[in-house]
């Protein structure tokens, strides 16, 4: 690992494109407006604005919205699908569910490949991988011919049970390569080794759909980096909280779908492990949404049941790729408060966004937002928003709340309290969804809060949930980009393989893991990463025989069956019979934790999973030393309304002047350019040696 060099991460957000750079342990921040017409422009602008010379960049990590945007805007590439005879309609059939169940005019999602561009070929494999009907090569050739004639050059191939035997998909790629070498080809089994034909086919189709756009984007960025002498490694952030090379990202661009938000979750995990708090709830509140995820023992929770554009009204589109499990709700600084038909108060999901923004921005917004309420209660400083770049207008905020207050026959102040209670309750429910509802006790977790609005609400939410402490890391406004700097290269592999999970199965299961490990070694090898640098983490999806849903359970690895990871070069048996017994015990515990009971029934294996990581060079988190006194960090004081806890004259501190490890009692306001942190009465805080703000309840 090289030391003393420059790493840069750039994260594209909804409003701003953020840059975080670390040079010899020193942090520098930059932002530029996001440029939806061509996202690369915003990225290039931050690089050019930054005080770090581009030629000095040793490592560049990038989180991009280009993939999710291509899907949302429906401006991807026309693509074709080749599939098993009798099954071209899986994209129309979907799962046939009606989530909006009382809507008697439900509209299904439109497939990303029209029916006319889906081609069926004779072939059939059963669930055990046995070929029942061999591939009709003439049918494949005819399909490729027709696809080419139609001017389509992006092809997804998805055959039934291809995860169990990929022979026919591989042969199809060979035929396409002979006949139509320029075509982009995606094989379903290479993106996911899991069963469920609609999910896997849709994943292959969406990967094809975004591929040309992602390719072009990465090429633009790459040539900019080349021209500007950036010679170091270039990585792209994937949805599994790991990175990949640009080259691999070109093959499976759909893995970048949640490229941005996962940086924040990963960052929260690292903040936690760095200070010895491996159990963390991450909470990121921005302008439009709040996102939360639970981190147990330093590990982010990654699942493969991800749905794009799904809501209570719409089923959305499934993606069977590894994505960090994030719960996202429409609660942010710009969220609008409104009264529904029954006379009840609601906050969000509609947001005033950045334009016109909350009423207090004075840019023409007239509806009451969470930011307006924070201003009216004295929590935000009208003179120091975005470090003073924008003055906030208290009168406009008040005017926006008046109609709501009139409707309820109450005061503006009471209404402000009400809006805060509702938005906090919505967020508390999301936080409970990732913790309590999955059997985790929040009292054993620390909350790491980030995002422009995170610090204003975190202390109240943390108190409500009963977490051990609330941590506001450095650079909370650019936290996602900061988290990206700390990531490693990561690839996830999975294979569905349903059978009884028992000691006797060890050699056979081990063989499956070995196959996945070989793939990992080979694919990292293509990027010149030797097996010795690749570490493997194993898990299995288990259930009681007869159940459908599974519980992901980590497998102790290595010859003594106790480690959690093993080097790909160690040559050790990945899975021993003893490890199977230990894994089953863990499964019973996890089932009991999540669902309050366990059974004595036999246990069944559904998927084997392997996560392979190769450590990237990354900055260590360095302690911060700072002179000064608490009094010296005091800027002012103002009256802050803490709702039920009363209004208090509250001291305001400038974050960067607060000395390390000096306890301060609340109530308090901590200001920094991109974020304001509220510490409630009865709470106290201190800055730890890494300059994280640590808020705890003060014992009486």
């Amino acid at each position: 690992m090289r030391e003393n060099n420059t790493r840069v991460a750039v994260d594209i957000g909804g409003t701003f494109t953020d840059l975080v750079a670390v040079t010899d342990g020193a942090l520098s921040l930059e932002k530029a407006s996001t440029t939806p017409d061509n996202f690369a422009n915003g990225v290039i602008a931050t690089l050019e604005k930054s005080s770090v010379p581009q030629s000095a960049i040793d490592q560049f990590v990038h989180g991009t919205t280009v993939v999710i945007n291509a899907v949302t805007e429906r401006n991807g590439e026309r693509c074709a699908l080749i599939t098993t005879e009798g099954f071209r309609d899986v994209l129309d059939i979907t799962r046939a569910n009606r989530p909006d169940m009382f809507n008697f005019r439900y509209e299904k999602p439109e497939p990303f490949v029209p029916r006319r561009d889906r081609f069926e070929v004779g072939e059939r494999v059963d669930q055990a991988g046995t070929v029942l009907e061999s591939l009709s090569e003439s049918a494949v050739k005819a399909a490729v011919e027709e696809i080419r004639d139609r001017g389509i050059d992006t092809i997804a191939v998805s055959y039934l049970h291809a995860y169990a035997n990929p022979e026919h998909e591989l042969r199809t790629r060979e035929i396409i390569a002979e006949q139509f070498p320029e075509a982009y080809v995606t094989l379903s089994h290479e993106l996911t080794g899991e069963y469920r034909e609609y999910e896997r086919t849709n994943t292959a189709v969406l990967n094809s759909y975004v591929r040309p756009i992602a390719d072009e984007y990465l090429t633009t960025l790459e040539s900019h980096l080349d021209v500007n002498g950036v010679e170091g490694n270039r990585y792209v952030m994937k949805s599994n909280a790991g990175t990949s090379s640009f080259e691999q990202a070109r093959q499976s661009p759909i893995e970048m779908v949640e490229s941005g938000p996962v940086g924040g979750v990963f960052g929260a995990a690292r903040v936690g492990t760095n200070i010895g708090e491996p159990n963390v709830i991450s909470f990121d509140m921005g302008g439009t949404t709040a996102k939360t995820s639970l981190i147990e023992d330093g590990n982010v929770d990654i699942g493969t049941e991800y749905w794009l554009e799904s809501s209570r009204q719409h089923e959305g589109y499934p993606l069977q790729i590894p994505v960090v499990d994030i719960v996202e709700i429409g609660a942010g600084g710009g969220s609008i408060a409104w009264i529904d038909q029954g006379g009840s108060i609601n906050v969000g999901p509609e947001s005033a966004g950045a334009d016109p923004g909350p009423a207090c921005y004075g840019q023409g917004g007239t509806e009451p937002t969470v930011t307006d309420v924070n201003l009216l209660t004295g929590r935000l400083n009208p003179e120091y928003f975005l470090g003073g770049e924008m003055a906030l207008d208290v009168d406009q905020a008040e005017a926006a709340l008046e109609p709501v207050a009139d409707e309820f026959g109450t005061s503006v102040r009471e209404t402000a309290h009400g809006i805060l209670r509702v938005v906090n309750s919505n967020m508390a429910n999301a936080l409970k969804q990732v913790s309590l509802q999955r059997g985790y006790d929040p009292r054993q977790f620390a909350m790491v809060a980030s995002g422009g609005a995170g610090g204003l609400h975190a202390a109240a939410l943390g108190r409500d949930l009963g977490v051990k402490e609330v941590i506001i890391p450095r650079a909370p406004g650019q936290f996602s980009a900061w988290g990206m700097l700390l990531t490693d290269l990561r690839r996830d592999y999975v294979r569905t393989w349903v059978r009884p999970f028992e000691r006797e199965a060890a050699p056979a299961v081990n063989e499956r893991f070995a196959e996945l490990a070989d793939r990992a070694v080979a694919e990292f090898g293509e990027e010149d990463i030797p097996p010795a640098d690749v570490s493997l983490e194993l898990s299995v999806d288990l259930r009681y025989t007869g159940q459908e849903h599974t519980v992901q359970t980590p497998v102790p690895v290595g010859n003594d069956g106790t480690d959690s990871t093993v080097s790909a070069a160690s040559g050790e048996t990945l899975l021993t019979a003893d490890a199977i017994g230990a894994t089953i015990d863990r499964f019973h515990d996890r089932h009991e934790q999540a669902y309050t009971f366990s059974l004595e029934d036999p246990v069944e294996l559904v998927n084997v999973r392997l996560a392979a990581t190769a450590e990237a060079a990354k900055p260590t988190i360095e302690p911060v030393s700072r002179d000064g006194t608490v009094a010296g960090a005091t800027k002012a004081s103002r009256a802050v309304d803490f709702d039920r806890e009363g209004t208090h004259e509250t001291t305001v501190y400038e974050r960067d002047s607060i000395p390390i490890d000096e306890p301060v009692s609340g109530p308090a306001i901590i200001e920094e350019p991109a974020c304001t942190t509220l510490v409630h009465p009865g709470q106290g805080f201190r800055l730890d040696e890494y300059a994280n703000v640590r808020i705890t309840e003060e014992t009486q």
Partner: protein, 599 residues
């Protein structure tokens, strides 16, 4: 909606009420998700044929999480009848009452559990709230595997009845009851697993409601619940006022009762005023010998989902929401059957409780309602002994089909029926992994032969289930709306009807719509075909460009384009405008002429 407990007079601020009711809804949903993740019957974990709710001691549903709309009206009866049996002071913390008979309100497979919520040290001798859930168990005995059949003539052939018995008494399992459960199922491991999962999910819900009560106090919680029920009514008031006042009428037929071939007449008169919606089913045929009868509560559930569909489909509901709804269903009819009439396929008739007012109002509420859909749950049970493991298998599934066209767009292809909801069709790859079956096709039913119109209906689904098992297996199925197909609106075409074809090894093909325990030998195929919906408007008014698109996507052939839509498609796959215009004129004249003749 009056509660007999003493309530503080003080009013509650609207914000706290909102926070409390959100928390109650979350509690119901958490309990719901918990059961779905742990159940052993696919009919629970994929079909989501279950519901969980929080109900107060007077039977008012406060919050409910549904997998299917079919339980929307039943939990209230489960709690109200349980309270009536045991008395308001007849409960202890840790009790769980189990029921599935006529009091449960749907067929016997749907087993309900009711658990009281107490707060430690509270001093009250009666619970304020109950958690209740109802879930379809795969097998509860009876004359045939899967328990429901298409040819039972008495409820006693359809499984064991649990008449509101305490499965848990003060937190202690009643082993005698558990033993009776285990002894009366063909799938004890699956059934006991479901029972355990359902009980555990109630525990979670009880705990969450206790948390809320502890935080806000029972009195505040009760005040919030009262305000919430009132809110439900407020919410729907304007929506009811916006409905078109008047009296409307519809009638229809069920194909048969599974025993005789006689169609069963059903009808409904809808009367809408500014404040109320009244549905009167007087004139509907008496209960039948076969199991297509619906208990009152099952019919009410379908009526309620229809009422929600025409008012505020996405709104959260509670008892107050349904206050404007008045329903008259004479006792002893197929929509309000009485014990011991069999009720195994109750969805066939209860679906009609929604279907009739839907048919009456669709032309008047085009922004809320589509034309008729394939209607029947089209449920199947496939079972046998899996030669790969030697274990018995049994899979119960609803089959999705075509929905009706709308006034402004085409209908949805292949979607579960109105009686099902967030019900997931099982993937073919999972079906083939779990059960010894092989699917020959899983496709839209095209070229589409029915449901054409200015806007076209959605297509049905064709699935070939081939037995891939040396010892074969069997199939039970109830496909209603086979003889009386989905209805259309404003000159559209009707749908084509649901049916099954059995493709025998000797090459013969048998057509059916109801099957009980029909053997399928290794290699034989049950082809399940669901209906398209009904069309909306005259096909001759369909935009020719849409017709061309349908042809290009292989929904229709050039012959259908010509014969049904009067659109001429050339050999180069374009529209021949002139030929189309004259063909359409010709067809219009023809139909006018035939109208004259019939007059």
């Amino acid at each position: 909606m009056s509660h007999q407990t003493n309530r503080p007079e003080e009013s509650l601020d609207p914000f706290t009420r909102e926070v409390i009711t959100n928390a109650l809804q979350s509690a119901a949903e958490e309990s719901f998700i918990n059961l779905g993740r742990t159940a052993k019957s696919s009919v629970i974990y994929e079909t989501l044929d279950y519901a969980t709710g929080i109900v107060d001691i007077d039977g008012n549903v406060v919050a409910q999480a549904n997998g299917v709309p079919g339980f929307l009206g039943t939990l209230k009866f489960c709690v109200a009848d349980t309270v009536e049996k045991f008395g308001r002071d007849g409960f202890e913390p840790g009790d769980v009452v189990m029921l599935n008979d006529y009091h449960g309100g749907t067929h016997l497979n749907d087993v309900a559990m009711v658990a009281p919520v107490f707060l430690e040290g509270d001093g009250r001798d009666e619970p304020v709230m109950f958690l209740a859930s109802k879930a379809h168990w795969t097998d509860i005995g009876g004359k045939d595997p899967g328990s429901w059949t298409t040819d039972a003539t008495s409820i006693f052939q359809e499984g064991i009845q649990y008449p509101m018995v305490k499965l848990y008494d003060g937190g202690v399992e009643n082993e005698a009851v558990a033993d009776i459960v285990a002894a009366n199922t063909r799938m004890p491991e699956m059934t006991l697993g479901d029972m355990q999962a359902q009980k555990a999910s109630l525990d979670v819900g009880v705990e969450r409601v206790q948390d809320i009560a502890r935080e806000y106090g029972w009195d505040t919680l009760e005040t919030a619940v009262d305000a919430w029920l009132e809110y439900g009514h407020d919410l729907v008031r304007d929506a009811v006022e916006a409905l078109p006042n008047g009296t409307y009428h519809a009638q229809d037929y069920l194909d048969d009762d599974g025993i005789t071939d006689e169609p069963i007449h059903v009808e409904c008169e809808v009367t809408i005023t500014d404040e109320t919606v009244t549905l009167d089913y007087t004139g509907t045929d008496p209960e039948t010998e076969g199991p297509v009868n619906s208990p009152y509560a099952a019919s009410i559930s379908d009526v309620r989902s229809f009422f929600q569909a025409i008012t505020l489909p996405s709104a959260p509901t509670n008892e107050g929401f349904f206050e404007p709804l008045e329903v008259i269903i004479p006792e002893g009819t197929v929509l309000n059957a009485t014990k011991p009439a069999p009720i195994g396929t109750d969805w066939e008739s209860s679906a009609m409780a929604a279907e009739l007012p839907w048919k009456a109002l669709a032309p008047h509420l085009p922004d809320k309602l589509s034309a008729g859909h394939f209607t029947s749950v089209c449920a199947t049970i496939v079972g046998g002994t899996d030669e790969r493991t030697g274990d018995d298998f049994l899979v119960i599934e609803p089959q999705p089909g075509g929905w009706g066209a709308c006034a402004d767009r085409d209908g949805a292809d292949v979607l579960v029926c109105a009686g099902d909801g967030d019900t997931l069709e099982m993937p073919v790859e999972i079906m083939e992994t779990r059960f010894p079956l092989l699917f020959g096709q899983f496709a839209l039913d095209t070229p589409q032969e029915a449901g054409h119109g200015r806007f076209r209906a959605g297509t049905g689904l064709v699935q070939d289930y081939t037995m891939y098992n040396e010892s074969g297996g069997f199939i039970t199925a109830s496909f209603g709306r086979s003889e009386y197909p989905p209805w259309s609106v404003d000159g559209g075409q009707k749908g084509d009807g649901n049916y099954i074809e059995l493709l025998r090894n000797d090459g013969s093909v048998e057509r059916a719509s109801k099957l009980t325990n029909e053997p399928l030998a290794d290699g034989e195929t049950a082809r399940l075909v669901t209906s398209s919906g009904g069309g909306w408007g005259d096909p001759l008014e369909r935009d020719p460009k849409r017709v061309l698109e349908d042809y290009r996507d292989e929904y229709i052939t050039p012959e259908i384009a010509r014969d049904v839509y009067g659109v001429v498609i050339t050999n180069s796959d374009e529209i021949d405008d002139a030929a189309t215009e004259s063909l359409r004129a010709e067809k219009r004249n023809e139909s006018e002429a035939s109208e004259h003749e019939t007059k």
